[in-house]
């Protein structure tokens, strides 16, 4: 059974209501069980409740989260870095900087340009790369993605993708070329909100996206990343659905390494204002609740968050981090600058200002980052905190290439 069918019968509303109304007894019971016995969806709901956010519980939950993280992962943080291939997109999504109707500067990097950007990142120490692109079957075809992976796999032991969802048969050659992980966020698990925010394009199909991790697993991806974009809908509702999705994938895709991301909305082109503000306090509670419920699952932290918050989230459950990220194609070395354009109705239009030869012009970012420290600076900070930065934790030979 796929998660889409399980999701239809999932009592999201009841669990969300329970998350609102959990009692001290519910919180204490969930805390006592966590990491020791099997926990239930209602245990998770209790851990994200307003009751559990009270200082006397939140600190205890954080302590337990820290303990479980150290036990399962040790004092190490794995580094990865995103490389944006393209910001072309055929979807209109109200919250995304790459949305088709945003008049932004766009570009798709050539293979050579991708290699140049990647070499720069490799020289900084990275060995885990995440290739990111907008959804565009023409500019970002499955053949293009396969070619990118094939060009990079010799120098990159671990290559993951965060791109528009594909069919199993389209994924397979990409895996065979050396890709190891696939990341796809559902954005929001609320069908109504999803439908309202995704105005047009293939992304409008909620279920197609929901079943993507399972298609990726069937195609041979070894790491699966899921997440919800915080700010689109009530976060506790998103959390219970994300937890159910996680539990489902752990059972069904039992040979994959699962990671969860909890990205919060950042300012982006289009100026979308988050419908919901998820506070630092709530984000901390969410991360801790995930750790208590899924002690062995990786939790990802991106540069969307500030240095201070990032440093403080690490002991609570984070296992993977990006650092020094750019969220636009060509962002690291200025590749593709000569081809910047505006896309209208699927056609290139000259950009509104002269960008060629102009220093500093670059493609438009997907969102603004909040941690501007270099990877080396973040690694030094981790060392001060008693953590080892692991740059390489995979080997190409394991990918069957």
């Amino acid at each position: 059974m796929s998660f889409a069918s399980e999701f239809n019968s999932l009592a999201v509303a009841e669990l969300s209501a329970f998350a609102q109304n959990a009692t001290a007894g519910d919180v204490e019971a969930a805390l006592a069980r966590s990491g020791r016995q099997r926990t239930s969806p209602s245990d998770f709901a209790a851990l994200i409740s307003p009751r559990a956010a009270q200082p006397q519980y939140l600190e205890a939950i954080a302590q337990r989260a820290h303990e479980l993280t150290i036990k399962h992962f040790g004092r190490v943080i794995r580094f990865f870095v995103p490389l944006y291939l393209s910001n072309e997109c055929i979807n209109i999504c109200k919250y995304c900087g790459f949305s088709r109707d945003n008049p932004i500067l766009r570009v798709t990097l050539t293979l050579e340009q991708v290699v140049t950007e990647a070499r720069y990142l490799r020289d900084q120490g990275f060995r885990h790369i995440l290739l990111v692109a907008g959804e565009h079957p023409h500019f970002v075809s499955d053949d293009y993605l396969r070619d990118c992976v094939a060009r990079l796999h010799r120098e990159w032991p671990s290559i993951s993708l965060e791109v528009g969802p594909l069919e199993v048969e389209q994924y397979r050659p990409i895996v065979q070329a050396g890709a190891e992980g696939l990341v796809v966020y559902q954005e929001t698990y609320d069908r109504g909100i999803y439908d309202a925010l995704h105005v047009s394009g293939p992304k409008k199909d909620f279920e197609w996206r929901l079943e993507t991790p399972e298609r990726a697993y069937a195609a041979g991806f070894k790491r699966l990343g899921i997440g919800a974009l915080l700010g689109l809908g009530p976060w506790r509702n998103e959390a219970v659905a994300l937890a159910a999705h996680t539990a489902h994938l752990l059972r069904k895709c039992w040979m994959s390494q699962l990671t969860i991301s909890v990205p919060r909305m950042r300012p982006a082109a289009g100026g979308f204002k988050p419908a919901v503000n998820v506070s630092d306090h709530e984000l901390v509670q969410f991360v801790c609740a995930l750790r208590l419920t899924f002690p062995e699952v990786g939790i990802v932290l991106s540069t969307r968050e500030s240095p201070k918050l990032r440093d403080n989230l690490i002991p609570l459950g984070i296992t993977l981090m990006s650092a020094g990220s750019h969220t636009e194609p060509g962002g690291y070395t200025g590749q593709g600058r000569e081809k910047l354009h505006v896309t209208k109705g699927g056609r290139f239009v000259k950009p509104p200002m002269p960008v060629i030869e102009s220093e500093g012009e670059h493609a438009t970012v997907q969102f603004e980052i909040a941690d501007n420290r270099t990877p080396a600076e973040v690694a030094v900070r981790l060392e001060e905190m008693g953590y080892e930065t692991v740059w390489k934790d995979w080997e190409g030979a394991l990918n069957g290439v």
């Binding site: 040790g74 004092r75 062995e296 080892e388 390489k392």
Partner: protein
Amino acid sequence: MTDKPQRLRIAHRDFNSRLIMGTGKFASGEIMAAALEASGAELVTVALRRADLSGQHGKFANILTFVDAKRYVLLPNTSGARTAEEACRLARLGREATGSAWLKLEIHPDPRYLLPDPVETLKAAEVLVKEGFTVLPYIHADPVVAKRLEDVGCATVMPLGSPIGSARGIETRASIEIIIEQATVPVVVDAGLGAPSHAAEAMEMGADAVLVNTAVAVAADPVRMALAFKAAVEAGRAAYEIGLAPKRRDAEATSPLTGFLNEP
């Protein structure tokens, strides 16, 4: 009669220490190196996926920098491999890069509990032994799998006490006892040993060695914890060699029936 103190012998090589150390989860390479030193271990396992196998000695990607290959017998491991094919490929690359033909064969397709796949492990062991590797396979405490691996030429068997990193101790005691009883190669209890007492227990049972990683790596003071495990392994081994008194249910007077003979 007690056994004389014996050294551990694996594949014609003698070791004074019966504690094998892992190298994952440490807060820094320096702390790891200090803990290895304190443990007295001579055999050290390293995940190949964390080593630079490109021959370029990458400064960012090389856990091997912190394991002195002159002091320790390097036991590269195949953690991350989900199939025999992946494990064999990684093993060959590892041998080229590290120069060590010793191999801790780990194939755990499930990244959550890291439980070993017996079918793939046996397949890979057969191939790798033929290719000249000294193979130490990580297995469930399954006596038949242990015998099958011995039959294909493995240098040891390494049954788990409980899942990796779980610190639950020897939950597979009854099966490990059978493995020890039947083994013709050293039995190394690997995984789940969360306390020195667990390591001592394995040694008292007659295990030839134990492998410890998480319990030391995540301890508040890894160096002292390494010393504690070293002492526990030595104590457990000595007790095994000397022979423990049989367990009884009740307290027992020294000579309840014949004591009267000595009365004045």
